[in-house]
C-alpha cells in the first residue's frame, strides 16, 4: 500500500486533474444555463464529483490516503444530501406544478 502510494505517475495525475476540471466545468455551465431544478441539482452533483476527484489526485501527489478517506466520507454524506435535496425538489414541484427555478424568484429580498 505504501509503495503503491509512494510512487505516482505525473501524467496520470494530470489526467485525473483534467478530468476533474472538465467535470466541474460541465457542472458549472449546466447549473448556470439550465432552469430545471432536477438538472440543476444533477449539475451540482457533477461539480461535487469533480472536486472529489481532484482531492483523490492531490492525495496521490502527497502520497497519503487522506484524500481518499475524505472522498469516502463525502460520498456517504452526498448520498444522504441527495435524498434530502430530491425530496425538497419534489415538495417545490408540488407547490408550483413546475420544476422551473424562476417560479421561486420572488423569494428575493424586497
Amino acid at each position: 500500500m505504501t509503495e503503491l502510494l509512494a510512487t505516482y505517475d505525473a501524467s496520470s495525475v494530470n489526467a485525473a486533474l483534467l478530468t476533474s476540471s472538465v467535470l466541474f466545468g460541465i457542472g458549472l455551465v449546466g447549473f448556470l444555463s439550465r432552469r430545471n431544478m432536477i438538472v440543476m441539482f444533477l449539475c451540482t452533483e457533477l461539480m461535487f464529483q469533480g472536486a472529489a476527484l481532484a482531492m483523490i489526485a492531490f492525495g496521490r501527489v502527497h502520497g497519503n490516503p487522506d484524500g481518499q478517506t475524505f472522498v469516502i466520507f463525502i460520498l456517504t454524506i452526498a448520498a444522504a444530501e441527495a435524498a434530502l435535496a430530491l425530496g425538497l425538489v419534489v415538495l417545490l414541484y408540488r407547490r408550483r406544478e413546475t420544476l422551473d427555478s424562476e417560479a421561486w424568484s420572488e423569494l428575493k429580498e424586497c
Binding site: 458549472l28 440543476m40 427555478s101 424562476e102 421561486w104 428575493k108
Partner: protein, 722 residues
Amino acid sequence: MLNFSLLADATDHAAATAIGVIQPAVDAPDLKWAGLIIGLPALSALLCTICGAMRVRSKLPAFITIVALIGSFVLTCMLFQQLGQGAPRVVGLFEWMSFSWGNADRFQSFSAPFALYVDSLTLFWMLFVTGLGSLIAIYASEYMESDVGKGYTRFFGGVSVFLAAMATLVMASNLVVLYLGWEGVGLASYLLIGYYYSKPSAVAAAKKAFIMNRIGDLGLALGISLIWVNYGTVDYATLFSVLEAGPTAGHGDWMPGAIPFLLMLGAFGKSAQIPLFTWLPDAMEGPTPVSALIHAATMVTAGVYLIARMYPLFALHEDALATVAWVGGLTAFVAATIGMAQYDMKRVWAYSTISQLGYMFLGLGVGTTFGAGYHVFTHAFFKALLFLTAGAVMHGFAGQIDIRKLSGLRKVPGFRLVSYLALLGCLWLSALPFSAAFFSKDTILTAALGSERSDFQFLGWLGLLTAGITAYYTFRVWFRTFAGPVHFEAGDEQHDAHDDTHDPHHAPVAGLSLGAKHDFHPHGPRWAIRIPLILIAIGAVAAGWPAYNVLFFHGENWVQSMIAHSSAVAGSGEVHGQDVLGLSAHLMTSIVGSTACVIGIGIAFWMHLADRSAADRVRSALRGFILTRWIPTTLENRWYVDEIYHMMFRLPLWAGSHILHFFDKTVVDGFLVDGTGRVPVAVARLFQPLYNGVLQGYAATMAGGFVLIAGWVFWIWLRGNG
C-alpha cells in the same frame, strides 16, 4: 457668649469651658446583656415575620411585641439601676465595620464597631422610648383589632422594627451605628405611615415622609463623613476627648464650621422643623398608635437627641446654635398658627408636635440642653396621651376625626374617661401653671428671654406669644369635640370604603345631630386602651415631679442631673439669665406664660364653647378687612408651604424631566441609537439590486467571484516567480 455656667470653672481651657467636662468612657464588657434592649424588639420583628408567613389569624403578634417591648423596658430599668449617673460605659457587641488602607508611612483605618455608649442621656431617652413603646403596643393590640390577620402582623412587625432601630439610634457608640438606627426608624416610619396602602393619600404621605427625611439624612451623612475626615474618628468617646483638647488644626477653616450645620439638617428633617416639616402632618395617615409612638413621642425627638449628643460640637460654634434657635423658634410659631385653623384633630396635634419640637430646638439653640431634654420628656407623655385619646375617639366613631362633626363626647357613654384624660393632655400642652410642661417650657423661654443676645430675647417673646396660641388651638379642639351639646357623625371606616379626606376648604358643617345614622352606636374603649391611657396620664403628671422636687423640697431635678452627666453637660446648668423689664427672666416668663395660657384658653372657651358662632363671626370679620383678609385662608392652607415647595421644586423637576425625556427620545434614541442602526440598512439598500431572485444570477456571482480570487492568486504567483 452663651450662658454655659455649670462646671465652667473646672478647667480654664477655652474649648473645655464651652463644652463642659464630659466624663471619660469606661469599657464595660460585663454589660453585654444590654444588647438585648435592641435584640428583643429585633427578635420580635423576626417572630412577627414568621407569624405573617404562617398566616397567623390571632392576636399573637401583638402579644409577642408587647412581651419583647416590656422586656426591653425592664432591661433598660436594670441598666439604669446599675449605672445611674455614673461614667459612660462602652459595651462592644461585635465587630461591624473595620477597614484599613495605605502603607506604614501613611496608614489609615476606619472602624465602627457595633457597640453601645451608655450614659445618662442614653438611659434618659431609652426609659421613655421603651416605656411608652410598651404602653402604646398594648393600646394598639385593641386599636388594630379590626385588622387581625395579615395587617395586624404587619403592623406589629413594623412597631418592632421601629423599636429596634430607635434603640440602635439612641444606644449607638458611634455615629455610623447611629446612622444605621436613624435610617431604620425612617424605614419603620415609612412602612407604618403607608400601613393603609390601598389608600392613595396614605401612600403619598409615606413617600413624602421618606423623601423629605432623605434630604435631611443627606446632611447627616455628609456631616458624619466630615467628622471622620476632620477629627479622624466617628466614635463618641474619642470625638469628645478630641474636642475637649481644643480646636484642631489643618483641613481648612470651613470644615469644622460646616459640620454642625450638616448635622442640623439631619435633625431638622427627622424632627420636622422648617424647612422640612410638611411631612409630619401628612404622616397622620398612619394608624393612630403609630402617630403617637413614632410621630409624637419618640422618633421625632431623634433630632433633639442628635444635637444634644453632639452638643460639644455645637457648643464650639455659636452661629450653629443661633441657627438652631431661630429655626426652632420660628417653627414653633408657624406650626402653632397653622394648628389654629385645622379641622382634623390628629392634624392639630401633629402641628402642635412640630411646634413643641420647635421649642426643644429653641432650647438647644439658646443653650439649655436641660430645658430641651426636660421638654422632650414631658412632651412625650402628654402628646402620646393626646394622640391616644384622639385614637380612642376614632376607634369608637368609625374613623371620625373631624372636630366639626364631633361634639360633647364627654357625655357619650364610654367616652367619659377618654374626655377627661384628653382634658389633662390639653392642659399640659397649654402649659397650665404647675403642670410638667409649664416647667419645661418655662426653662427654655427663660433661657431665651434672659439671654444677652437681643435676637434670642425676641425669640423668647415669640415663644411666649406661641404659648398663648398653643393654649387657644388646644382648647379649641377640646371645647369643640369633648364639651358642648352631644352630636356626632360617624366616620365611614366600616360603612363604606371610599376615601375619607378632610377637606379644609369647605365651611363647617352644622346641624347634623345624633341619629343622622340610625344604625351607628359608638363603642367605648375597653381595658387594653383604657389602662395604657391611664398609665400615660399618670406619667404625664409625674413628669412634673423633678420640678416639684426642686420647688418644694429643695432637692435636685432628676432630668437636670441626668443631662449634666452626659455629653450635653454644657447647657445643663440652672438657667438664670438677665433681668427683663425689671423682673428676673424666670419670673417674667412664668407670669407672662401663665397669662398667655389663661387668655388662650379663655378665647377658646368664648369662641368654641360659650358662643360657637363667634368663631365664624371672627373669621368673617377678618375676611372683611383688607389687611387681615389673607389670614384665615393662609392658615387653613398651612401658609401655602406645600404649594411653594410644589412651585419651587416639583414643577422645575417635572419640567426638567420632560425636557430631558424629549432630549433622550430625539437625540440619544432617535439620532445616536437608531441612526447607527440605519447605517447597515442603507449600505444594504445600495447592493440590494444584485439580489434579483434568479438562482443562476447568484451562482454566476459566486463563480465570477471565485474566478476573480483565483485570478488574483495566480497573478501574485506569477509575479513571485518573476
